[in-house]
């Protein structure tokens, strides 16, 4: 909060030059602290080198390592496969982006539909519940296969035939069901009294959800939602079973041509390049959110 009032006590507080009780200056204290944090850091580095060194040595010393190295970690094959795999990965990112746009919206609709009360809303509640049960009950890969091969086979006019479209649709349906459940757990975690007080102010059921319940509910589940994002980013690769030439499919094509598996490692590297920063971001965000919750002030 900005408090630009110049009062008398401004003259008293000059904290930076205050001497320490023990007579040492702030600067000397800082050096002492730096020195003290150096030791744990050194220990951490040393133990990391030892542990990981042992792990790498264990793998590399295995009798078949030279063959595996040639099959999976061949620099030449890596370079040869990279452009196609990268090109395919671009398609993965596109599908990821499309599902990321559709999932939060559909999931929210389902979650809200499931939280509506009163007998008039029964059909909506029933449909939403049935949707979640069915979509969560089907293994994602089966859903992708069924939609991707089944619906275009109907040859209905106006229905897209693109495998990518049906892949994204399958991802969206399945992930929306899970995401809706996350939203709903957030909604359920908001105390009943909040709903009562919103309704008592004259807010309709939908208004109460929108202005009072959902803002709290979504804040409760942001970390869980972001974990779903990380998971979705990888599951996009499943669409390769439809023949969509994504990173995995391109890697497969390279492998079937050359009998060398380095292309899979290339695809793995690409997925890690996205998912590790994403995971770090989720952790950072969750920690920040916790800190903000405990110190919530504008």
């Amino acid at each position: 909060m900005p408090a630009p009032n110049k009062s008398a006590d401004d003259d008293i507080r000059v904290p930076d030059q205050n001497p320490r009780p023990d007579g040492s200056s702030a600067e000397r204290l800082g050096f002492w602290v730096r020195h003290e944090t150096l030791k744990p850091a050194l220990i951490a580095v040393a133990s990391t080198v030892v542990v990981f060194g042992a792990g790498v040595w264990f793998v590399v010393s295995s009798p078949n390592w030279p063959a595996v190295k040639n099959q999976f970690f061949n620099p030449d094959d890596f370079a040869a496969a990279w452009p196609d795999v990268l090109d395919g990965f671009w398609r993965n990112l596109q599908m990821f982006a499309y599902s990321m746009l559709a999932i939060p919206v559909l999931a929210l609709v389902i979650a809200v539909a499931r939280s509506l009360r009163g007998p008039a809303f029964f059909p909506i509640r029933f449909l939403a519940t049935a949707f979640t049960d069915v979509m969560r009950g089907i293994p994602l890969i089966l859903l992708i296969l069924l939609l991707g091969f089944g619906l275009p086979a109907l040859q209905l006019p106006g229905l897209p035939k693109s495998a990518m479209f049906w892949g994204v649709t399958a991802l969206t349906l399945s992930y929306s069901a899970y995401t809706a459940e996350i939203y709903r757990s957030g909604i359920d975690a908001v105390p009943e009294s909040q709903r009562a007080s919103a309704r008592s102010l004259g807010l309709s059921q939908i208004q109460a959800l929108r202005y009072a319940i959902l803002p709290q509910a979504i804040r409760n589940v942001v970390p869980a939602l972001m974990n779903t994002v990380v998971s979705l980013q990888k599951d996009v690769a499943l669409v390769s079973v439809l023949g969509v030439r994504d990173a995995v499919r391109e890697a497969q094509i390279y492998t079937s041509r050359t009998f060398n598996y380095t292309s899979y490692v290339a695809a793995t590297v690409l997925f890690l390049l996205i998912s590790i920063p994403l995971t770090r971001f989720v952790d950072w965000y969750a920690a920040r959110d916790r800190a903000r919750m405990s110190d919530q002030q504008r």
């Binding site: 105390p191 909040q194 009562a196 309704r199 004259g202 807010l203 202005y211 919530q296 002030q297 504008r298």
Partner: protein
């Protein structure tokens, strides 16, 4: 308290033989009472006697099983009555304040005005600031509920209920969740409202306050009004043995 004219006109609120159960547990068993306009009615009685349920039913937060609840003579539990319309005329404040934690005090107070009544942000905030100032909360408009005291929370919750200019204000043990030293500021506010002529029904354990502010006190027992009357009569000369026993226990606990 000034003398009031006899209640010849329609009472503001009237309950006729109201029944209500939670599951198989009967809570209200033939509740009958009335509240005249500008009156303050205090509901007292042991825990579980139906005080809170009564208030929730009047605000239509819980449906009743049978009976009638009349607001200005019209049955609000009848078919086709919009609960939202009723709630816009009746304010309720709960024991646990229930401010929305993600909104500032000002946003809490203006939410219904802006979203339900479509008052402009400027007008709503002007009115809210006026009310907040009147009840000594002007400095807290931008604070979040978890950064202010329980007493301040509860006063803000009352201001929030007042924003809709209710014709009837229901207060459900609004001081029970407060530290003792914070009770006074909330009771002070309610006293001010009573002096301003607000029609109120309050469930309370603050007998001293009830005696001071109430026009009528109802002693509830087993989901019925067992005895009611002006505070002087009910507190000093209770007729029913249950009332006498309850007041004796309260007295022994030092709450009178």
């Amino acid at each position: 308290m000034t003398a009031r004219p006899p209640h010849a006109k329609t009472p503001k609120l009237e309950l006729i033989d109201v029944h209500k159960s939670y599951g198989r547990t009967p809570v209200l068993r033939g509740m009958t009472m009335d509240v005249a306009e500008h009156d303050v009615v205090c509901l007292i009685g042991p825990s579980g006697c139906g005080k809170s349920t009564l208030l929730r039913c009047v605000d239509l937060l819980d449906p009743i099983a049978s009976g009638q609840i009349l607001l200005d003579g019209a049955d609000i539990t009848a078919r086709g009555v919009s609960a939202d319309d009723v709630r816009r005329r009746v304010g309720i404040v709960f024991q646990s304040f229930n401010l929305f934690p993600h909104l500032t005090v000002l946003d809490n107070v203006t939410l219904a005005a802006r979203r339900v009544h479509h008052v402009s942000k400027r007008d709503a905030e002007a009115k809210a600031n006026e009310l907040l100032e009147r009840f000594g909360l002007a400095g807290l408009a931008r604070s979040y509920p978890n950064r202010i005291s329980g007493g301040q929370n509860q006063r803000a919750a009352i201001v929030r209920a007042l924003m809709g200019q209710p014709e009837l204000l229901l207060l459900d043990e609004v001081t029970s969740a407060l530290d003792p030293e914070l009770v006074g500021e909330v009771l002070g506010l309610i006293g001010e409202l009573a002096d301003g002529g607000m029609t109120m029904v309050l469930a309370t354990h603050e007998m001293g306050f009830a005696r001071e502010v109430a026009d009528k006190v109802c002693f509830l027992s087993d989901g019925r009004v067992l005895e009611s009357g002006p505070p002087s009569q009910l507190f000093e000369d209770p007729q029913q043995p249950r009332t006498q026993q309850f007041l004796r226990l309260v007295h022994q606990a030092g709450r009178i």
